[in-house]
């Protein structure tokens, strides 16, 4: 219970700070909307089938704007040494990871919740909310977990803004491929059996990313 109380304390602290400034969320949402609008102009001229290319557009918006939030996640902790304040406390490093990963997952999910209806509106497509939302949440989960770990790595380097995408995107390729294929399958109303292999891959990568990041986090944040 103490572990969960500490995780909750970290999540609530991040939410309180974000609600006061709204810096991260506003940047993420604006960036995601810009991506949608730019792609919308490009595709309108070409007359493409948005149910085919839409999944790629969505995940470009999700991952690139998600990385903005992930980048700030530990940079803000480092600015006044507050991460050290947390590490001085008798808190399991796994609880710190889970707290930060949960906050990041929530911020990215809020950005996605704003982005998805706008995508539907701009492209005039009906959204198959189920199974689309579970697929997107599962993709976001793995992305946020690995992103949290690598954000902690990048925050310790001089080129942290550049380092995070360089580290995160190559590692996330299998997860993002599965998320894009599943999202595409949902937009094209394909049967689950057609995409079940990608679903399995997504689940496996979610589990791997969560477990690896949970165990490795301690060695990343401690000197």
């Amino acid at each position: 219970m103490k572990f969960l109380r500490q995780v909750l304390a970290i999540v609530q602290k991040d939410l309180a700070a974000e609600l006061r400034t709204k810096e991260n969320l506003s940047a993420m949402v604006v960036f995601a909307l810009l991506v949608l609008v730019i792609f919308n102009f490009a595709f309108e001229l070409q007359g493409v089938d948005i149910t085919v290319l839409g999944s790629g557009v969505l995940w470009v918006a999700f991952t690139f704007s998600g990385i903005l939030g992930l980048g700030r996640s530990f940079a803000a902790e480092k600015d006044k040494g507050s991460l050290e304040g947390v590490l001085l406390s008798p808190v399991d490093r796994g609880a710190v990871f889970l707290g930060k990963a949960t906050s990041n997952f929530l911020f990215i999910t809020v950005m996605e919740a704003v982005t998805l209806p706008l995508f539907a509106l701009l492209n005039n497509v009906g959204m198959p909310w189920f199974p689309l939302i579970p697929y997107i949440l599962l993709g976001t989960l793995g992305f946020a977990a690995m992103g949290t770990l690598l954000s902690a790595v990048a925050a310790s380097t001089k080129m942290r803004e550049v380092m995070l995408p360089i580290l995160l995107f190559p590692v996330s390729i299998p997860l993002l491929m599965a998320a894009v294929k599943l999202t595409g399958g949902a937009l094209q109303a394909r049967a689950f059996a057609d995409v079940s292999n990608w679903f399995n891959i997504l689940i496996v990568y979610d589990v791997i990313f969560l477990v690896v990041a949970f165990w490795v986090f301690e060695y990343v944040v401690e000197e």
Binding site: R5, Q12, L88, P90, E222
Partner: protein, 239 residues
């Protein structure tokens, strides 16, 4: 006989090929206030960070009371209060929210009452609802000291704690360190303010190039001038 609350034994720390600490051994007893002094780069901050569990040594052992630091870091952390070069505070949270967050990490009971107590002790009880970024450096340092006292630690570690404090706040910090004696805490602090540091400490440990070169109890120096004589010799040997 007072219990040893900080026991450091044969501590080594290197950064690459450079020795930051070498064969450092000393104890700090309950109710004892010990100053760490030495020139820049002597290893004071590294030593405090290792005892505070923020860095790991290459060799050696540390005990906080009876707790071996390497084996039970979280139990040791619960007994340590630390003030470092940075405030450890979140700029966008209020003073109250910051203290509440740390109190929850320490899993303290009666958090509201405890926050009010420590805030009153450091004189920020009227500023608890202010966002931290709006507080002056001195008030932020007081908030940091409140955070250090929040969980009533047995061991206080302070790295250059007078930085940014005005005269009133520095006197307050002296009082908190002096109170640590009857409260049965052990205090280990680093300082370059020798006049203030020596006035309050029971012992002074002089570090040079990562080694303990002097461990002097109060009787070893009669006044500041007496200590400065010893310290000047240490600095001279450095050249």
């Amino acid at each position: 006989m007072s219990e040893t609350l900080i026991a450091v034994e044969r501590l080594d720390k290197t950064f690459g090929a450079r020795w930051a600490l070498r064969d450092v051994t000393f104890n700090v007893a309950q109710g004892e206030i010990v100053a760490l002094v030495g020139p820049n780069g002597a290893g004071k901050t590294t030593l405090l960070r290792i005892i505070g569990t923020l860095a790991r040594p290459n060799a050696g052992q540390i005990r906080i009371g009876k707790i071996p630091l390497a084996e039970h870091p979280n139990s040791a952390r619960a007994a340590i209060g630390f003030v470092g070069h940075q405030t450890f505070m979140y700029d966008d949270l209020t003073a109250w929210e910051n203290l509440n967050f740390y109190a929850r990490l320490y899993d303290l009971p009666n958090i509201s009452q405890r926050i009010r107590q420590v805030a009153a002790r450091v004189g920020i009880e009227n500023r608890l609802n202010d966002v931290t970024r709006t507080l002056s450096r001195g008030l932020q340092q007081r908030l940091t000291i409140a955070r250090m006292l929040l969980h009533e630690p047995a061991v206080l570690l302070l790295d250059e704690p007078y930085t940014g404090l005005d005269q009133v706040a520095a006197d307050l910090l002296d009082q908190i360190m002096a109170d640590a004696k009857p409260e049965g805490r052990a205090v280990l602090f680093s300082t370059h303010d020798l006049e203030r540091g020596l006035a309050i400490c029971d012992r002074a440990i002089v570090l040079k190039a990562g080694r303990v070169v002097h461990d002097l109890s109060r009787g070893a120096w009669r006044n500041l001038a007496g200590f400065m004589e010893i310290y000047a010799r240490v600095l001279e040997e450095r050249k």
